[in-house]
């Protein structure tokens, strides 16, 4: 395929691919017909209420449930010690031991002796209603003996810091270096004409999906089976992990994710409540359920980000960067959840951004603190990496005395350099970073904006304009299984699909990729319909239930389309291969002489001799007259393991206006040009960009999981934790530039995380750009009005 700007031109003119199509998922969601966990109920169910630590770090001296047991409907109060026999040694799983010597403290679903963060489960109440469970949990009194808490990551690695896990003797979990050629890096820095050296703080973020978590575990008393309903992104992984953790035979476990109201990575986990409800259900022989409250979600569900980054660039006198050196402190929180330790690594390969930099040095030290564990959150490691390099590139531009777009252009990987081997050892698939930037610059009308900016500066206006660039590349489509092996990840990265043609020529697609808002049903049906020449509405997509879709690795890391969608694409090809044999048999023709046009096989050049898809489907079903030795039915299964990651990229430009009297920042224009390869449904692509950009801008301007010095979290509701709404969203101007990925047959890359990765540095770079003439050179996140106002005052030498 050739490079072009219009995604639709890659596709056959009669096709659905590349054309906007409304999401078939939405009517159910919008009318309330969709069933979420909390819409379900099972006969005889018991509600769990969880007593959560109010201390960041404390010895649990005792749990007194007597007051709770007085409450109508409360049946039992269980301490961590009471529950321990249910899971024995079975601690919550961490699937990514990134180094052989990584320290991974045992993490029980309910703490027995020491509470290690505010929100840590310390006791459980069983009751006959959610209200009684909540009242009961509130009435349990826990006797704590407070211990010193470690809250800040930098303090956690200081000498004499209190220890989160006394027995480990240190707060460090692991150090992971990626330094292919240390001498070359040193040399680049000693020869550099310009050295940029910066420290950035990635605040912690609360994922806050629309639907908090929820679990129902239903036992089959006679069968020994467990059905686990969970608001999860990963029913397949959860099934394996529940089996391993609780010793329930895996074939006796079925996991169902009903409609799931967003996840952003926070539902890519195996949580205490899933294990707790499962263990209790199997033990008591009744369904056991729990629904997370919004405030509970602030500490009981993982948080994102939480890093302190040191980045240095060594550049020659023209601003060409020769080496990048990064030292990272990553906040793991109190325990390692499913992929906690791997998150910094996902960024660890990308601190050189989309630039052709020869030498690389990355080192991450991951640290325990007395806070909620961190884990994957939209972008997982890559937003952090992009933020660091994109902020640093702006500083370099200033040092060299060129514009932000010029410093980027001077350093971009050239369009003719693909496949490109990066200094961190990845092979980038395709791209034309300069073309993408040029398009963004043009759309932004940069000259005009710069003229307004200059005028406001000259006038000393209190409404200063700032322009922020962010050029990014991400590694997506997790992931080639062998690469995951080399990173010590505990699973593969393939995806499975089945395409099943029914007797009436309707099609069922079974995907191992588990949607929770992305629109898989719409996209997968378009892929299959296009290949089979049928209507997308004749294709049903089944998922999210391990009894229906037994094989899969679920949804995260912008992998669904490039891995799961490719599996669907290839399984459809397999169906067509078999259909072709049946058609050849029916038409008494040689299969090589057949072509598939508009839903029928025909003999090339003889359109009258045709075997329509419906006739083939029916013939496969009746099996009355199939080629000798052919099995009946038309169905194919494919497990696809990608040979490489995909590398979506783009340039975003944010234009902000800063009210210098108040520090208030408004995004007045936002241009996003993304290259996610070929597009199946551009409407879904655009939706992902819109949501992603706002989520990224939210880190820049609004969101912050605020902890006090003693480890109390302050932002536990959506009044204090500022998730922006549609009213705060900028008016997006979105475009794409397509370089198909050569990695997979559809040439797709992934768009789920792009906006979030790009937007944060674009917005902060814009704020800094607006205020640079006032002496501001850095900006902490979130750039709240008060923070910005203080930064201006400090830069002006005034009171802060």
């Amino acid at each position: 395929m050739t490079m072009t700007d219009d995604p639709a031109t890659h596709m056959d003119s009669a096709s659905h691919m590349g054309r906007p199509r409304l999401r078939r998922e939405d009517p159910e969601l919008l009318t309330g017909e969709a069933q979420f966990i909390d819409d379900m109920s099972l006969h005889g169910e018991v509600w769990v209420g969880i007593v959560r630590s109010t201390e960041a770090h404390a010895t649990i001296l005792g749990v007194d449930g007597s007051a709770a047991l007085e409450i109508d409907g409360v049946t039992e109060v269980l301490s961590g010690a009471d529950l321990a026999p249910l899971w024995g040694e079975g601690a919550l799983p961490c699937a990514w031991p990134v180094t052989d010597d990584m320290r991974n403290p045992a993490h029980l679903p309910v703490a027995t002796s020491v509470a290690k963060y505010v929100g840590d489960a310390v006791a459980v109440v069983l009751a006959d209603s959610r209200y009684a469970a909540a009242d009961g949990a509130a009435a349990v009194s826990v006797d704590y003996d407070p211990l010193p808490a470690v809250v800040d990551v930098e303090a956690a690695v200081a000498d004499g810091a209190p220890l989160v896990h006394e027995d480990l003797g240190t707060n460090e979990s692991y150090t992971w270096p990626l330094i292919p050629n240390p001498e070359a890096v040193e040399e680049a820095f000693s020869n550099a004409a310009h050295v940029v050296s910066e420290r950035y703080v990635q605040q912690r973020l609360i994922p806050a999906p629309m639907e908090p978590r929820g679990v129902i575990a239903a036992p089959g008393v006679a069968s020994g089976e467990l059905t686990l309903y969970s608001a999860t992104q990963i029913p397949h992984i959860l099934k394996v992990m529940t089996a391993v953790t609780l010793g329930i035979p895996e074939h006796k476990i079925r996991v169902v994710a009903p409609s799931v109201g967003g996840g952003f990575g926070c539902k890519l986990n195996v949580y205490a409540e899933e294990i707790l409800c499962s263990a209790l259900a199997m033990d008591r022989g009744v369904p056991v359920r729990w629904t997370e409250s919004r405030s509970e979600a602030a500490t009981a569900t993982i948080q994102g980000r939480g890093q302190v980054q040191h980045i240095e660039l060594a550049a020659d006198d023209t601003g060409r960067v020769q080496a990048v050196r990064v030292k990272l402190l990553a906040d793991m929180g109190a325990y390692l959840q499913l992929v906690t330790p791997g998150v910094p690594l996902l960024g660890g390969f990308l601190y050189h951004g989309c630039y052709d930099i020869a030498h690389y040095s990355f080192e991450c030290t991951s640290v325990f603190t007395n806070k909620t564990p961190t884990d994957a959150y939209r972008g997982a490691g890559r937003p952090e990496a992009t933020y660091a390099i994109e902020r640093a590139m702006d500083s370099l531009a200033v040092a060299v005395g060129v514009t932000p777009e010029e410093i980027r252009s001077r350093n971009f990987i050239a369009a003719d350099a693909f496949p490109y081997e990066s200094c961190a050892g990845l092979i980038f698939d395709s791209g034309d970073y300069q073309a993408v930037l040029d398009k963004a610059v043009e759309m932004a009308g940069l000259e005009g904006v710069r003229a307004t900016q200059a005028q406001r500066r000259a006038d000393g206006s209190s409404r200063q304009i700032g322009i922020g660039f962010s050029s990014y590349v991400e590694m997506c489509g997790l992931a080639p299984s062998r690469v995951l092996a080399s990173l010590n990840y505990g699973a593969g990265g393939w995806e499975a699909a089945t395409v099943r043609v029914l007797p009436t020529a309707k099609v069922q697609v079974i995907t191992g990729s588990t949607p929770h808002g992305q629109g898989h049903e719409t996209s997968w049906s378009m892929i299959v319909a296009d290949k089979l020449g049928i209507d997308p509405d004749d294709v049903e997509v089944l998922h999210s239930d391990t009894a229906i879709s037994p094989t899969g690795l679920d949804t995260y890391g912008s992998r669904s389309l490039s891995v799961g969608g490719t599996a669907v694409f290839m399984a459809t090809d397999k169906v067509l291969d078999k259909a072709r044999l049946i058609a050849a048999h029916q038409l008494e023709a040689n299969e090589d002489d057949l072509e598939y046009v508009d839903g029928a096989f025909q003999v090339k050049g003889t359109p009258t001799a045709a075997a329509p898809f419906a006739a083939i489907a029916f013939a496969a079903f009746t099996a009355h007259d199939l080629p000798d030795g052919m099995e009946p039915n038309l169905e194919a299964h494919v497990t696809y393991d990608p040979p490489n990651f995909t590398f979506p990229n783009g340039t975003h430009i944010a234009v902000v206006e800063v009210d210098t009297d108040t520090g208030d920042v408004g995004i007045v224009d936002y241009v996003a040009v993304d290259d996610c390869g070929n597009q199946v449904n551009p409407m879904i692509v655009e939706g992902q960009v819109h949501g992603g950009v706002l989520q990224g801008a939210a880190q820049a301007l609004y969101e912050d999981a605020v902890y006090t010095e003693d480890g109390q979290i302050v932002t536990v509701n959506l009044g204090d934790y500022l998730v922006p709404s549609a009213a705060e969203a900028p008016v997006y101007r979105v475009a794409s530039h397509v370089t198909p990925s050569p990695t997979n047959p559809m040439g797709v890359k992934g768009i789920g995380e792009a906006g979030t990765i790009a937007a944060t540095p674009a917005v902060i770079n814009a704020v800094v750009d607006a205020l640079r003439p006032m002496g501001v050179t850095d900006m902490a996140m979130p750039a709240s009005p008060q923070t910005v106002w203080r930064a201006i005052n400090e830069a002006q030498g005034g009171a802060s």
Binding site: Y131, S295, V706, G719, A727, E728, P785, Q786, R790
Partner: protein
């Protein structure tokens, strides 16, 4: 976050509501739009054992003008103020402040009586009623009494209402020309970090979230009255005030914001 259990009674009339309040004393709470009370109950900051629902008293949903006074029934929704043609003509400030409260869902439930009775220093409409020099009509077992807005807000979430009293009406003088309302917040749906209401070309100025109650900026009013410029009048906006510190703003920054927005509001209200 689940409220504690409570008993629920529907009031048939304002008198019935007052009788129920009298019967149940401080155990009882009126429920109007529920958009302040129910969140408080969910966080268990309020645990009334009896809720008296006045939300269905449609005869207390009205906006009338008579002899230069606008009378608004206590159960009038914010959205009804926002879209009232009468207010747009006769007291546009009330309509425009109402339009800035929360989000559409909040404005369709929240009531004028509720927001005044709640006496949240961060709320918008109390500031408008204060700046306009309004009056609150309270009904109790002994009948109705009028309370000047300036006497109404007595402390942090506290008002001059007795436990057995209900607001039935709010009166503001028609006009208010030379008005402006500045609301500074980070998200459209949020309460003001700081707000400034100016009515009658600076004769009435009130501040939002600058102390423990919605309050009149009497120093600014005095400065305007004595002919000071907007800038000079705004300079005293925070004088003597003890604004709160929270995640959005500490006290010093709030004082600064009060000055900035007082000047902007005065300018927009026509004070040079």
């Amino acid at each position: 976050m689940i409220p504690a259990s409570f008993d629920y009674k529907v009031a048939e009339s304002a008198e019935h509501a007052v009788a129920l309040l009298t019967e149940h004393g401080d155990e009882a709470k009126l429920l109007a739009g529920g958009h302040s009370l129910i969140p408080m109950m969910r966080f268990r900051l309020a645990t009334p054992t009896v809720l008296v629902d006045v939300g269905r008293l449609d005869d207390l949903r009205y906006i009338n003008a008579d002899n230069g006074t606008i009378s608004i029934g206590a159960l009038t929704r914010h959205s009804e103020l926002e879209h009232s043609e009468l207010l747009a003509q006769s007291c546009p400030m009330m309509a425009s402040v109402a339009a800035l409260v929360g989000d559409p869902a909040v404005r369709h439930r929240g009531t004028l009586g509720g927001t005044l009775a709640h006496s949240d220093p961060a709320s918008d409409l109390p500031a408008a009623v204060l700046a306009l020099g309004g009056t609150i009509v309270a009904r109790g077992p002994g009948g109705d009494r009028e309370i000047a807005a300036t006497d109404f807000f007595t402390g942090y979430f506290e008002s001059a209402l007795a436990d057995d009293e209900m607001i039935v009406e709010v009166r503001v003088p028609a006009g208010g020309a030379g008005w402006n309302y500045q609301k500074f917040n980070r998200r459209a749906q949020d309460w003001a970090i700081v707000g400034v209401a100016v009515a009658n070309a600076g004769a009435g100025v009130s501040l939002v979230n600058m102390g423990s109650t919605p309050l009149r900026a009497s120093a600014v009013e005095a400065a305007v009255a004595s002919g000071a410029s907007a800038a000079d009048a705004a300079a005293v906006a925070a004088e003597g005030l003890q604004p709160p510190s929270d995640l959005n703003a500490d006290a010093d920054y709030r004082r600064h914001l009060a000055r900035v927005f007082t000047q902007r509001a005065l300018n927009a209200a026509g004070v040079a």
